[in-house]
């Protein structure tokens, strides 16, 4: 079983549109995992049926029992996150500030503080329009632990791939280089880096590639909107060569990305032209590379 992750560093480079096209091309051979859990969009193109859903619990928040609390303020002294404050002679925990370390609960002389595990979102198993299975999730509004939810989605996808005897897991990652990205990269075989020829695109590609290099994954690069700035496209090609990133393709600046999304379709379903041929070739190249 092989895992392919599509990431980008910078947002808005066309990562999800391209990943969804791969999911369409891969059809029943591919288990899809949408690991961009705090702005998951893959479901808008894949018509999931949400046949299984489960709450995701992770992380704790402190709660003060006002009947037991004697306002000794020991908890305020130990809290490094300034999460506890006094209002009308009562102590309150601000759930947005509380990191759930549990220190206050441990030292409270009245045992007035408990930690409550938090509902941090839901995750789903769906049959999608390709007939295959997609694992996806929705992070609760303002919830922490997106990295752990990513790990959950990936693990479920792995279980299903083993049960259904599928060879490929396709993962849509999130932008950035922080915990959800690190979590989506762990254990993958191939990382597709979707970039764009803007100075931000190049800058973010370099940072995400530095992160990818800490993992054992092979990397391949797609330059989307390549004709937007030919000079920077050249710089990205040069950078990919020097970093031994497999140059998968340059894609043109094409509003089909938006049109197809507006119809709820992947690019390769919506149109048949040079762009979609290129995407099919990329998918075949990746399958060969793994």
């Amino acid at each position: 079983m092989k895992e392919i992750v599509v990431i980008s560093g910078k947002g808005g480079t066309g990562k999800t549109s391209i990943a969804a096209s791969f999911a369409w091309l891969g059809g029943k051979d591919v288990i899809v995992a949408d690991c961009d859990v705090d702005a998951a969009d893959m479901h808008l193109l894949m018509q999931p049926d949400y046949h299984e859903s489960e709450d995701f619990y992770s992380g704790e928040k402190a709660i003060i029992d006002q009947d037991k609390c004697t306002q000794c303020r020991c908890c305020i002294d130990v809290c490094r996150f300034d999460a506890i404050s006094i209002r009308d002679d009562m102590l309150y925990v601000d759930p947005l500030e509380c990191e759930g370390c549990g220190y206050c609960a441990r030292i409270c002389p009245e045992n007035a503080i408990t930690n409550e595990i938090q509902n941090a979102g839901q995750w789903y198993i769906s049959t999608i329009k390709t007939g295959s299975t997609m694992v996806h999730a929705r992070l609760g509004i303002g919830a922490d632990n997106s990295g752990k939810l990513v790990a959950k989605v990936k693990n479920e996808a792995r279980k299903i791939a083993i049960e259904e005897n599928k060879d490929i897991i396709l993962i849509d990652g999130s932008p950035g280089i922080g915990c959800p990205v690190i979590s989506s990269l762990s254990g993958v075989d191939f990382a597709v880096l979707v970039s764009e020829p803007t100075i931000s695109g190049l800058h973010d590609l370099k940072r995400v590639n530095e992160l990818v290099k800490k993992f054992k994954a092979r990397a391949g690069g797609i330059i989307n909107k390549a004709d937007l700035n030919i000079r920077i496209t050249g710089q990205i090609e040069h950078y990919m060569k020097s970093e031994n990133i497999l140059h998968l393709a340059n894609l043109p600046y094409d509003e089909i990305f938006t049109y197809s999304m507006t119809c709820g379709k992947t690019i390769v379903e919506y149109a048949r032209n040079d762009l979609t041929t290129s995407i099919s070739v990329i998918w075949d190249t990746i399958k060969q590379a793994i």
């Binding site: 930690n115 932008p175 950035g176 803007t198 937007l228 700035n229």
Partner: protein, 286 residues
């Protein structure tokens, strides 16, 4: 006045709006721009200013002192993040997982875990006339962006007075780094695009802002592409639309080269003026 510029979806134009708005406001008055997208900070690519200072930023993590340790195992029990494990007679600390709560250190009966600083990134402070620009950059491999965002906000609060307009360029998404960036903002601008992805992620961002009880409005970027669903949503939810930035390939080209947009594209400049007027009114009527 703290103005945060956020979005659910990435790549909708947060940085474009932040750098152009900050630079435009600087023509009239003092303004601070802070790039709090510490994982992928890009504002600095558009701002050419003089470096004033540079500081390493640290979080506190425990360091094991073998000599003092009695291997009682208390530290690994109190750690809620699994950042400490015991392997036979060795205590191992995983700095990436540590949130710096000090519990292991302060509750250690034999003072065997001292808290020491570990670098997580760097803060740079630049100036160009009326514009002060602050950029923080997370070291690659660090998992937690939130502590660096928080330290950067502290730097700004300690060095600048409240009457100056402060623009915070936020990371994308709706999770903890976004909460940290927007939770004390006086006003939040959510940048979106009129596409299904844009609308879906805008709804998540609106949900987050309502939960945080922030005042917010929307800027629609690439207006004209896609469909009217974003505009209809804003109208039906009574969310003010501060500006509509037209879909224009020239804007994308200028952006690609690291250029500011408003000096060359008048329709873009008029949208910046519209936002500036709106924000100033909000600032005075707080």
């Amino acid at each position: 006045m703290k103005l945060a510029i956020a979005s659910g979806k990435g790549g909708t134009g947060k940085t474009t709006l932040s750098v152009n708005l900050a630079s435009y406001i600087a023509k009239f008055q003092k303004v601070i721009l802070a790039d709090l997208d510490v994982e992928e900070p890009n504002s600095g690519l558009f701002i050419h200013a003089r470096l004033v200072s540079k500081k390493d930023k640290f979080k506190m993590i425990p360091e094991w002192n073998e000599k003092n340790c009695t291997l009682c195992g208390n530290c690994k029990e109190v750690c809620n993040y699994n950042a400490i494990i015991q392997l036979n007679s060795i205590i191992l600390v995983f700095p990436q997982l540590c949130h710096g709560c000090f519990a292991c250190s302060e509750l250690c009966p034999s003072s065997a875990l001292k808290m020491v600083p570990q670098r997580i990134g760097e803060l740079q402070y630049f100036e160009d006339g009326n514009l002060s620009f602050i950029e923080s950059r997370l070291d690659i491999g660090q998992e937690q962006a939130t502590p660096l965002i928080s330290l950067t906000k502290t730097f700004i609060e300690e060095n600048f007075t409240d009457d100056i307009i402060k623009i915070y360029d936020s990371p994308p998404g709706t999770s903890c780094p976004v909460i940290e960036t927007t939770k004390n903002a006086d006003y939040v601008i959510l940048v979106t695009e009129p596409t299904p992805f844009g609308l879906h992620d805008l709804k998540l961002a609106v949900g987050t802002m309502r939960k945080l009880r922030r005042k917010f409005g929307v800027v629609i970027n690439r207006y004209g592409i896609g469909n009217d669903a974003v505009l209809n949503y804003c109208v039906s939810e009574d969310i003010p639309v501060l500006a509509k930035i037209p879909n224009n390939r020239r804007i994308a080209e200028l952006y690609s080269r690291g250029k500011l947009i408003y000096p060359t594209i008048p329709e873009f400049e008029s949208e910046m003026e519209r936002i500036r007027t709106y924000i100033l009114r909000k600032a005075y009527c707080k």
